[in-house]
Each structure stands twice: as structure tokens, then as C-alpha cells.
């Protein structure tokens, strides 16, 4: 297979102001990746020390084709090889995510962002935005992640249920971190009941339900790499729990002991008033609570106007 790609690369590079070979290149590089994937699985199963090497070699070959395409900037757009860059970038993304070398995606994203005047197919754009959104999520850039994954979900073909589900697995945690929770019907439709209890627990500020839900489906979440993102929802769960304390007490000067009691009620192990203060301080710092703590009076004084701003 690598020999075939090499031959094609030579032929492709020799073509001047022509791009009719792009569909062939797309198929061949896709097959190269699939063969490399199968080879990696066989090597891993047989105890080979570095099974990922075969995928890296495939990525190197696809990268050499990518360089030929991206450097073709003197030809008119219709005959330019740059029209094939997104297909190759998507293949490279799939390999880099598989071998966990996400830092290699950065120059590819830069290259595509500079191709403003090119019109790529919607299918390829959906795949591209999916991977860019996923990378942004791992880089903790949640706004960008939400934007990209939402684009991918909204433009994904309606009958591609598997792809839509895959996009939602990453979109839902990101949206929850930005304060938007999924509807029950959406989760049921795409068989993502795993997120149901998480969303319910975070909305209600129920730490017990939250940690139980995380533990129950942790293998699923770890497999897709969203477990750590979901753990970040702990802060929002604290915020919602403390908001309940405020609503119950009905005053703007809340004793710290009340928060400590709320955390104990939620089975937080070994919590004391110092830790309760520390958690509150963290929430104030992140602007989830508007107010200040008076250590001397052992109280939290919260703002009379919008003390718990909407989570964004």
C-alpha cells in the first residue's frame, strides 16, 4: 500500500495546473489509513513493542501528499490541488487522534484556516469541525469547542445516526460546562442515557448523584476521553448546591457553617469549615457567586442583585 501511495505521489507531483487525480488520492490515502489501522491492531495483539509506528509511517506519507497539495497556490482555484487539502487533513486528524499526538494537528488547522477562498464539501467540513472541536475541548477552549461541534452536529447528514451520536458525546459535556443542559428526548433519541443522571445531578446541585453517575458510566466516559471534562462539572454542582442554601435561608449574609453542613449532607468526606470556605472562595473567584467572605464574622455576604450569575 505505501508503494502505491508513493507512485501516486510522484505522478501527482508531476502534474502541473491539474487536479483530476484528487479523487484517486482521497481513496488511496483513506485505504492507506485503514490498512495501517488494521496492521496496528494485529501488531498490538501479537505483542509488538511499537504498534503505533505503522500509523506514524502512514501519516508521514499522507503528509507528503498534503505538502504537494498545499503548496499549489499559483493555479486557478478550479484546477488547484489545494481543493484536496481538507480530505488529507481529515485523514491525518484521524491518525493523530488515534496515536494521541494532538499537537501535530495545530499546523494543519492553520493551513486550512488560511484557505478562505476555497469551497470544500459539506461532509469534509463536518469531519474537520468535529476534530477541531474535539481538540479545542481537550485544550479547554470550550467556547470554540461548542461552536465547532455545534456546526458539525447541525450540518451532519440526518441519517448518519452513528456520526451524530459521536458528535453529541463531546458536545454535551462542553455545553454543560457552558451552562446548557441537554433535553431528555435528545439523550434518549441518540442512546446517550449515560449523561441523563449527570445533567440532573449538576442542575440540582446533588453531589451524591453526580459522583454515583460518574462512577456508573466511567468506562464509557474514559473510553471517549470525556471523563475529565465531566469532572470539571463538580464546580458547577457546588455552585447549584450553594444556591439552594441561599434560597432556603433567604438572606444575603449566609453563615459559613450552613455551607459546611450542606457539603456534609452531600457525603463529602472529611469536609470542614476551612474547606467549605476554600470552595466558596473558588466560586467567587470564577464569578459563579457575586459576593465576598468575611473570615472575621464567618459569613458570606452575597450581592442583592443577581448573586448567582448565569453560568457561561
Amino acid at each position: 500500500m505505501p508503494l502505491l501511495v508513493n507512485c501516486l505521489w510522484f505522478t501527482f507531483q508531476a502534474q502541473k495546473e491539474e487536479n483530476w487525480g484528487l479523487p484517486v488520492l482521497a481513496v488511496v490515502t483513506r485505504d492507506l489509513r485503514l490498512f495501517a489501522l488494521e496492521a496496528e491492531k494485529c501488531m498490538a495483539a501479537s505483542g509488538h513493542k511499537k504498534p503505533a509506528d505503522v500509523l506514524e509511517r502512514a501519516a508521514d506519507q499522507i503528509m507528503s501528499c498534503f505538502r504537494v497539495c498545499v503548496s499549489d497556490n499559483r493555479t486557478v482555484v478550479e484546477r488547484s490541488k489545494r481543493l484536496g487539502t481538507l480530505v488529507l487533513v481529515n485523514q491525518l486528524f484521524k491518525i493523530y487522534f488515534r496515536i494521541n499526538k494532538l499537537h501535530l494537528c495545530k499546523p494543519l488547522i492553520r493551513a486550512i484556516d488560511s484557505c478562505d477562498n476555497l469551497r470544500f464539501s459539506k461532509a469534509q467540513m463536518v469531519t474537520y469541525r468535529y476534530f477541531v472541536g474535539k481538540k479545542a475541548m481537550f485544550d479547554s477552549d470550550f467556547k470554540k469547542a461548542a461552536e465547532c461541534l455545534e456546526y458539525a452536529f447541525n450540518h451532519c447528514f440526518v441519517t448518519s445516526q452513528r456520526n451524530r451520536r459521536l458528535i453529541l458525546i463531546y458536545l454535551i459535556p462542553v455545553k454543560m460546562l457552558l451552562g446548557e443542559f441537554p433535553k431528555r428526548e435528545l439523550l434518549l433519541k441518540h442512546k446517550l442515557e449515560h449523561f441523563m443522571d449527570i445533567a440532573k445531578a449538576v442542575r440540582k446541585g446533588n453531589l451524591v448523584l453526580f459522583s454515583d453517575a460518574l462512577e456508573k458510566h466511567e468506562s464509557f466516559f474514559i473510553h471517549f476521553g470525556v471523563f475529565l471534562i465531566l469532572e470539571k462539572l463538580t464546580i458547577i454542582t457546588y455552585r447549584n448546591l450553594f444556591r439552594k442554601v441561599y434560597l432556603i435561608l433567604g438572606t444575603h449574609q449566609l453563615p459559613l457553617k450552613a455551607f459546611e453542613d450542606a457539603l456534609r449532607f452531600m457525603n463529602v468526606e472529611d469536609v470542614d469549615i476551612d474547606e467549605a470556605q476554600c470552595i466558596l472562595a473558588g466560586l467567587i473567584d470564577k464569578n459563579y457567586i457575586r459576593g465576598y467572605i468575611s473570615h472575621q464574622h464567618q459569613k458570606v455576604v452575597i450581592s442583592k442583585q443577581n448573586p448567582f450569575p448565569v453560568v457561561k
Binding site: 505483542g47 473558588g282 465576598y292
Partner: protein, 316 residues
């Protein structure tokens, strides 16, 4: 020659065996940065030999594990010295490289469970008798130990935490209490919960606490930044005694120095927080003409330990 032959040479010539390195670290007749230079030099040579001879068995693992423990301890012992005597950045780079080698070798040795080493078992036993960690038993605890160091050295890194979880497939599989504790410490750091972070740190063994020490100033500064916003609304005074406990400090002098280094006012046993005044970055404390950076507080229990370096390195 393969590495086994070098071991044979080592025992018969003047070349330094691995176990002697541990006894050198106990020397008190020289300043410890001299001991560091000497041992670091020997470790570099051993690592170079491992690369040249493409060794990836238990012997290579022993050397890399020794190196990790040595660099972790050295950072704690020598940070605060002038840069010409101890370069923390270089030490950290070596530490990271050795850690990655240990994790890679552990993976390789798991997939190839029958080691390709044709080592003389007598020599391996000699190394393990002193080293105590290269035997087949307790291999999973040993791997967990080094995953723990990896997570602590990269505290706050989601990538490192993700790698740990991917390796163990589930949080409940985090082997032994220590790795689970380290994972919780990482979580506390990411949430800004310093009170629990230091409470859990005190439960760690000494070498793991050295790994937390790598980030001690960063953790404390982040904590002060959070408190400055949460407590600083009306120029409130926060008791230093409480702050000492929260930030895991040894004494009031140390915490006072640290608060002042961050640009916070301290008077009459309390620190003044004020949201209108941002904290000074700690980089502004760059040494001038070889003056050392102030060593801001050790973790209390470890500071009082009477253990010899070799005992800490061999986890006795």
C-alpha cells in the same frame, strides 16, 4: 558487549555499581550540590549506555527508576541554591525524560512479559537486593508509583490525567491507595481546593511530596490570588495562623515572606487582601548576581524527617 557484561566489569573494576550511588547520596563531607553533580554525571553515563546498547529490560528500568527518584529528591534538597550550583530547569528536564522512559519501559515489559535479557541472575539479584524495586513481585505497585510521579510532576495537566485514566481504563482500577490519592490531589489542584490538596499531600510518602514541592510556589500563589478576590472586598484582614495551616507552611515567618513576595501587606499577624491590588508575579524575584531565590516553606512533616537520602530514595 551487552549490558550484562558491563555489570560484570563493574563488579570487578573501579566502575560504579548502581547500589554504590545510593550510599554516595548519604555523604555529608561534601556540600550536597557536589554530590548531586557527581551522581547526575554517573546517571547520564548509564543512560547513554542504555541508549547505545538499546537495552529495554529490567536493568534499564532499574537505572531509569533510580534516576527519577534521585531527580525528585534533588529538586527538593537543592532548590533555592544559585543557578550556577543547581539548575532546577535542567533537573526537571532530566526528570521528565527519565519518567517517560520508565513508563515506556513498563509498557514494553508488560507486552513482552518474558524479558529478552540474558542477564546473569546473580547480578540482577545483587542490584535488586539494594534497589528493592526491580523484582517481579510488586510490579503493579511500582508502576502505580511512577504513574503517580508522572501525574504529580505534571500537576494540573489534563493530558497527563487522561493518560493515567486511559492506562487504567477506570478510576476504580487506580492501583493501590497512593495513585488514587495522587489523582485526587490533581483534581483538587484543578478545582483550586488547596485546603484538601495539602491535607491529602500530607498522606503521601516523602518522594511523592517532593514531586508536589515542584509546584509549591505556584499552588500557593494561585491560592492567594483566589483569596485576594474572595476576601478582599473591603480590605479585610486574614489571620496568618489560618493561612499557614491552609497553605501547608512550616511557620509564620515563611508565610509572611511569601505573602510579601506576592505584594500583599502583612501586619499584626494578619495579611491584607484587596481586590483592587493584583498580586505581584513571583518571577519578579529573579536573582541578581547569583543571589538565591528565597526557599518558600517546606512541607512540614518532610522538613522534620531524619531519614537519610538513601533511605528516602530506596523507599525504606
Amino acid at each position: 558487549l551487552n549490558y550484562c557484561h558491563i555489570w560484570l566489569l563493574m563488579s570487578s573494576n573501579n566502575v560504579m555499581p548502581l547500589c554504590v550511588i545510593y550510599s554516595i547520596t548519604d555523604r555529608t563531607d561534601q556540600p550536597w550540590f557536589c554530590v548531586y553533580d557527581f551522581v547526575n554525571n554517573r546517571i547520564q553515563s548509564l543512560r547513554q549506555d542504555i541508549v547505545y546498547q538499546q537495552l529495554d529490560g529490567q536493568e534499564a528500568l532499574c537505572v531509569q527508576e533510580t534516576a527519577v527518584r534521585f531527580y525528585l529528591y534533588s529538586h527538593y534538597r537543592l532548590s533555592g541554591l544559585p543557578w550556577e550550583k543547581f539548575d532546577p530547569k535542567l533537573n526537571l528536564d532530566q526528570l521528565q525524560q527519565c519518567l517517560l522512559s520508565v513508563l515506556r519501559l513498563n509498557d514494553a515489559n508488560t507486552t513482552n512479559s518474558s524479558s529478552s535479557s540474558k542477564c546473569d541472575h546473580r547480578l540482577l539479584h545483587d542490584a535488586t537486593r539494594t534497589h528493592r524495586v526491580c523484582s517481579g513481585t510488586g510490579a503493579s505497585e511500582r508502576k502505580a508509583e511512577f504513574w503517580g510521579y508522572y501525574l504529580l510532576v505534571n500537576l494540573g495537566s489534563t493530558e497527563a490525567a487522561r493518560e493515567v485514566l486511559s492506562h487504567y481504563k477506570a478510576k476504580r482500577h487506580l492501583c493501590g491507595g497512593q495513585l488514587r490519592l495522587v489523582y485526587d490531589i490533581n483534581k483538587c489542584f484543578m478545582e483550586g481546593n488547596v485546603v484538601r490538596l495539602f491535607r491529602l499531600t500530607h498522606l503521601l510518602p516523602p518522594l511523592s511530596r517532593c514531586a508536589v514541592f515542584l509546584h509549591i510556589n505556584k499552588i500557593r500563589r494561585i491560592a492567594l490570588q483566589i483569596m485576594n478576590k474572595a476576601y478582599g472586598n473591603r480590605e479585610s484582614h486574614f489571620p496568618l495562623q489560618v493561612l499557614t495551616k491552609w497553605l501547608g507552611c512550616v511557620d509564620l515567618t515563611a508565610i509572611t515572606e511569601f505573602c510579601q513576595a506576592c505584594g500583599l501587606g502583612v501586619s499584626e499577624g494578619s495579611v491584607k487582601f484587596n481586590t483592587r491590588h493584583a498580586l505581584k508575579p513571583l518571577n519578579s524575584q529573579a536573582p541578581e548576581h547569583g543571589q538565591p531565590l528565597p526557599l518558600h516553606c517546606a512541607i512540614p512533616e518532610f522538613h522534620k524527617t531524619d531519614s537519610k537520602p538513601s533511605q528516602i530514595l530506596m523507599k525504606l
